[in-house]
């Protein structure tokens, strides 16, 4: 399935009144990870979920991926149930740890979803070399994960997630474990890859600049119980180069998201307590 086939009128993700309660054990009370959350993500849209620990952003992503089930409410992906979308392989997913199989080479790791779903060998190797090129790892095709840096491993994981040309990419803090320099480079690459593939992205992060740099919309969440506090529109245009990070529109976005996170304009100098990553 290619992107051009996708019907643009169907939302990529539709979350309607979803709650997720993790039941308590014995006398311990249960934890409400998500409380009545509703969110619509359009096809091709880049949406970040941001918030402090325990706000349910990862839980929301796992519900969309059908790795977990909602206690109440409905999640649909391209008009289907989340479960059906998972079975149909409508999304690609990237976790915080690359999760590569250490006994498989870079090529074999990227090939994994294709091999599992019975894609012919010739088509598989053609697609894999395309993807390796896309993430700039051509020299490392036959390397093993332990021989790669964290950033390179994460690029392999992204290539693997893109293998079946999904129209939806789910990313759970994919750059969370990377150093600052690598992180900014990976963000720029992700912007490029998204432009090339046209996939919708749900991106979980706890970095404000990262969310602003990447997203069309930033969903700001608050914890206990996990709720959507505010959705901030970011209009930074299509071409997002490195210079963008120094433009006033970018800073305006960062300020808007930060204020939404803190619930009110911060008092004092404003620079304190800001996650500048």
């Amino acid at each position: 399935m290619t992107i051009t086939d996708a019907v643009p009128t169907v939302a990529a993700v539709e979350v309607a009144g979803v709650s997720r309660v993790f039941p308590g054990r014995g006398k311990k009370a249960g934890v409400t990870a998500l409380d009545d959350v509703s969110l619509t993500i359009a096809a091709g849209e880049f949406v970040s979920l941001i918030g402090p620990s325990g706000c349910g952003k990862s839980t929301l992503l796992r519900l969309i991926a059908d790795l977990d089930s909602a206690t109440s409410g409905a999640v649909s992906v391209f008009g289907k149930t989340a479960r059906q979308a998972r079975i149909d392989q409508d999304y690609g997913i990237v976790f915080q740890s690359a999760g590569l199989l250490p006994w498989r080479s870079v090529t074999a790791n990227i090939e994994l979803p294709l091999a599992l779903h019975g894609v012919a060998k010739a088509d598989r190797s053609a697609r894999v070399s395309e993807l390796i090129e896309l993430v700039g790892l051509s020299e490392f095709a036959s390397s093993y994960p332990e021989q790669l840096s964290g950033g390179m491993q994460q690029r392999v994981a992204i290539a693997r997630a893109l293998a079946e040309r999904p129209s939806l990419l789910l990313m759970d803090e994919p750059f969370g474990a990377l150093d600052e320099m690598t992180r900014e480079r990976m963000q720029a690459e992700l912007v490029r890859i998204c432009a090339e593939t046209g996939a919708a992205v749900v991106f979980v992060t706890h970095s404000i600049p990262e969310a602003v740099f990447l997203s069309d919309r930033v969903v700001v969440m608050s914890p206990r119980p996990g709720r959507i506090r505010e959705i901030v529109d970011i209009n930074l245009g299509e071409s997002r180069g490195e210079m963008l990070r120094e433009e006033s529109a970018f800073f305006a976005g960062v300020t808007a998201v930060r204020e939404a996170l803190h619930g009110a304009p911060p008092v004092g100098t404003g620079a304190r307590g800001v996650d500048l990553r």
């Binding site: 998972r86 976790f95 994994l112 599992l116």
Partner: protein, 252 residues
């Protein structure tokens, strides 16, 4: 050959030679009786004399150990796979394995020999299979439980079947653990194959040769068969070690 590898090989050889010389001198000069400790030269002579028989006995015992090891390993791996998948089976099997782990070969061998008849190799192979089952089962099961949550999530996201998960994630991840079990089991297989022969049955293996030589006060001959047993054990251990090396090179 570099100096380092020469030294690596030469050092233990030299130690062996020194031990043999000291042993020989101690027996000769100290006038130690052969039933206490025969001289290496006497054992060497018996080795030479008994070589054809020793070779056959080593093959007979080796075959029992190998067959028992393979059968025990296959059963252990299959049961571990099932136990890792089915919770009730895991709970069912755990006490049984604990019981098997403490079964003394000494108690089992005469009973099995009666069961299968004195002219059968089967009781020995069964004993070896029982003995090797425990270390391979325990290690394999531990390996199968090492699956990272991120891999579980990933395979679920791929809507992979149970068999696909086992084949692509669980089994390859458990492989180093399986080999650890194998390493322990390989020496156990040889030891138990020899000990199993102490309790009657066919007189064709190393164990029965050792007991009959000792019963005839032919101590140097008994020692010659012990030497055969050592060689057999080393061969088994080295073979599993080589297997592990090959598989880890393919994966690493």
């Amino acid at each position: 050959m570099t100096w380092a590898t020469t030294r690596r090989i030469a050092a233990p050889l030299l130690l062996g030679v020194i031990v043999l010389v000291v042993w020989e001198l101690a027996v000769q000069l100290g006038d130690i009786k052969p039933y206490l400790l025969p001289a290496p030269s006497a054992i060497g002579k018996q080795l030479e004399l008994a070589l054809p028989v020793l070779w056959k006995a080593t093959l007979a015992t080796g075959a029992n150990a190998l067959i028992g090891l393979l059968v025990g390993a296959i059963i252990a791996i299959v049961v571990a796979l099932l136990a890792s998948r089915l919770h009730f089976l895991d709970e069912l099997v755990a006490p049984v394995v604990a019981a098997i782990a403490v079964v003394p070969i000494v108690a089992l061998a005469p009973i099995l020999t009666n069961m299968f008849g004195a002219t059968s190799e089967t009781p020995r192979r069964v004993i070896v299979a029982i003995v090797v089952f425990v270390p391979i089962f325990v290690n394999t099961l531990r390996g199968l439980r090492q699956v990272l949550p991120v891999h579980t999530d990933l395979m679920r996201a791929y809507a992979a079947s149970n068999w696909q998960i086992t084949r692509t994630v669980t089994l390859p991840g458990a492989l180093p653990f399986v080999f650890t079990g194998f390493n322990i089991a390989s020496s156990l297989a040889v030891i138990s194959a020899i000990v199993a022969e102490y309790f009657g049955g066919l007189q064709n293996g190393l164990g029965s040769r050792i007991t009959s030589a000792a019963a005839n006060s032919a101590y140097p001959r008994a020692w010659a068969y012990v030497f055969g047993a050592i060689v057999l054990g080393v061969v088994f251990y080295a073979a599993t070690l080589a297997l592990e090396k090959i598989s880890s090179r393919r994966h690493a």
